[in-house]
């Protein structure tokens, strides 16, 4: 295995496996937990298709295997088919992450013909009215179901992504049943992660501990019940966890993210941490950024971590958790993620989780 070396030290670098390509921040939906930043890239600043093609070739050269074409809604780009084809041509596994609104049958056919490998459709609830309310878009549920049917008819593998929060957390069984009914071979039961828009809407989205425990306890029985028919992946609700999640598999370790305007980030929320300067694919090659951008090296490895992480047996398992969450909840991006019960700031998480209000959603709008 050939590993690159950071110019600043001799620590071996990992090769990234996945690239999240945010083709645009435009989206017809307004989900209140959107993972896009509050300040979004404008249409006129979006990278053109030729630049994306170069980025995909550079990514493949860096060891990236899979590209996730996302947004916003990637179908808001008229040149989506061209962009997808360029990723496939670079040898990458192509995953289209879509809201399901905005892709015509004809465009889906073109994508399939050009070699699209996999489609992920998000759906907000198993109750159509609730789903449309959460998405902030009348008729979204029906359109998503229609696109899912078209995907399955083309024999493309389908993942159904369902973000879980207070309004739908009681329906985990029904949500998995819906994913099966849609023809999905994989379903993500993804509890909201509180960054960006979700952080803004936290009080309106946050479930109770009891609701979370009930929902989490359903996953294993559902896996047994549907074994061999659908793969159930769960993203845990970390405000109620004892240990933090490993930040994108480690900061600058396994994945990278390119924003619509071309800035390269270790994860989609990284720009919420002040003081980091992210380089753009307009000025640098992807390898240059991966190996040399100080922002990528800022939290690589574990040497920056304080106690209790330094002497913790989980140090190399979860890397002290998520940098963005550490910053959001403690004001210090180097701190132990306060989700960890060993963090001196752990009480903050419980305090924040206890704030629940049935307020109107602040919908995500460009």
């Amino acid at each position: 295995m050939t590993n690159g070396h950071a110019s600043t030290n001799t620590r071996p670098l990992h090769n990234p496996l996945g690239l999240l390509a945010e083709l645009t921040h435009r989206c017809p939906l307004g989900c209140p937990y959107c993972s896009n930043p509050l300040a979004m890239d404008k249409r006129e600043d979006e990278l053109d298709a030729a630049t994306w093609a170069r980025v995909f070739r550079e990514a493949a050269g860096l060891g990236v295997l899979q590209v996730h074409l996302s947004g916003g809604e990637p179908a808001s780009r008229r040149d989506l088919v061209q962009i997808m084809a360029a990723a496939r041509e670079a040898g990458l596994y192509t995953n289209l992450i879509t809201s399901g609104v905005g892709i015509t049958d004809q465009r889906l056919n073109e994508l399939a013909d050009a070699g699209l490998d996999h489609v992920q459709i998000s759906i907000q609830d198993s109750e159509p009215k609730s789903a449309d309310h959460i998405a902030g878009y009348e008729g979204a549920y029906a359109r998503k179901r229609a696109l899912a049917a078209a995907v399955v008819a083309l024999k493309l593998p389908l993942t159904v992504n369902i973000v879980i929060h207070r309004a739908n957390i009681a329906r985990v069984d029904a949500l998995v049943a819906m994913a099966l009914d849609m023809g999905g071979t994989r379903v993500e039961i993804a509890h909201v992660q509180y960054y960006g828009w979700a952080l803004k809407n936290r009080a309106a989205l946050m479930p109770t501990r009891e609701q979370v425990e009930t929902a989490v306890a359903r996953i294993e029985p559902l896996r047994k019940q549907h074994h061999g028919r659908i793969v159930i992946d769960a993203v845990v609700p970390d405000y109620y966890a004892r240990f933090p999640k490993p930040c994108v598999g480690g900061w600058g370790r396994r994945s990278l993210n390119v924003t619509p305007a071309g800035r390269v980030l270790p994860c989609h929320a990284a720009e919420s941490i002040p003081g980091l300067e992210f380089w753009s694919v307009k000025d640098h090659s992807l390898r240059d950024i991966w190996e040399r951008n100080p922002a990528f090296n800022a939290f690589r490895g574990t040497s920056f971590l304080p106690q209790p992480c330094q002497s913790c047996e989980r140090r190399d398992i979860d890397f002290g958790g998520c940098r963005c969450q550490a910053f959001a909840l403690t004001g210090d991006a180097r701190a132990t993620d306060p989700v960890c019960h060993l963090s001196p700031h752990h009480h903050v998480v419980a305090e924040q989780a206890s704030i629940r209000e049935d307020a109107e959603y602040v919908y995500r709008r460009l």
Partner: protein, 98 residues
């Protein structure tokens, strides 16, 4: 078309193949063979890669076992049990059609 995971027995005339959305690729930077699937990457060791390469939808399970037993000069029964376990495991993860 999946049998339960407990006792992997695959009919001799089954013709295993990778479904659309699952691809076996060789990648130097990642150190060898990898099986690419929706949101998943599986490192395949040399043996697993040899097995999966033969899952084209054309060769029968029996023919694949024969081929591997000959190629690697291994006892057929042992090869059959190992390959059945590998293929059933992949099928359970929706990475293979039997």
């Amino acid at each position: 078309m999946n049998t339960p995971a407990a006792a992997p027995s695959i009919p001799p005339d089954a013709r295993p193949r990778l479904p659309r959305g699952v691809r076996l690729v060789h990648n130097e930077a990642q150190g060898g063979w990898v099986l690419l699937a929706p949101e998943r990457v599986f490192k395949a060791d040399q043996i697993a890669a040899e097995v999966v390469k033969r899952c084209t939808g054309e060769a029968s399970f029996a023919a694949i076992v024969d081929d591997l037993a000959t190629t690697f000069a291994a006892p057929r029964e042992r090869v059959e049990a190992d390959v059945a376990a590998l293929l059933q495991g992949l099928a359970d993860k929706k990475l293979l059609e039997l």
